[in-house]
Symmetry: C2
Subunit: 90 residues, 2 copies
């Protein structure tokens, strides 16, 4: 189960809340666009995922910031709530 809520979509940024169940993976993917993205964990524990199987621990309060075009994903160990902000919106 993955739940997705579009919080905001304006000409300036797009903000999305994803809620991932324990064990869920948001697979590594790419958007070939200019811009940046932040991923903030507001609840739960898991991993930020990158290219070539890279994993970084992702706990409450942790934020990953990267170019939109960098490969990225999230794997939830516990139930996780994340807030993703993308500028400019895609």
């Amino acid at each position: 189960m993955r739940r997705f809520f579009l919080v905001e979509d304006s000409p300036f940024f797009e903000i999305i809340n994803f809620n991932l169940a324990a064990g869920a993976t948001f697979p590594v993917h790419i958007h070939d666009l200019d811009g940046q993205r932040s991923i903030l964990v507001i609840e739960g524990e898991g991993f930020f995922l990158g290219a070539d199987g890279a994993e970084m621990t992702a706990g409450t309060g942790d934020m990953l910031i990267s170019e939109i075009r960098e490969p990225h994903g999230v794997r939830a160990v516990s139930d996780m709530r994340i807030v993703v902000t993308i500028a400019p919106p895609i």
Copy 2:
């Protein structure tokens, strides 16, 4: 005491973490610029402040999104950690 950490400043957005002590007020202010801002409470309880003395409760996980030029502020009841994202950066 107010603690301020610039988390990111790119051509696309600016992300700032403010940590307010219980009782602290981040006074209502204005930036006369085009753009939008999100304020996400990642810890603590207080109020979002607006024009004319307006107050809205602001607890962990609450997010306020507004135009940059709308009057805004925060008042902390407990110690608060907030993440502010501004696009485009100011």
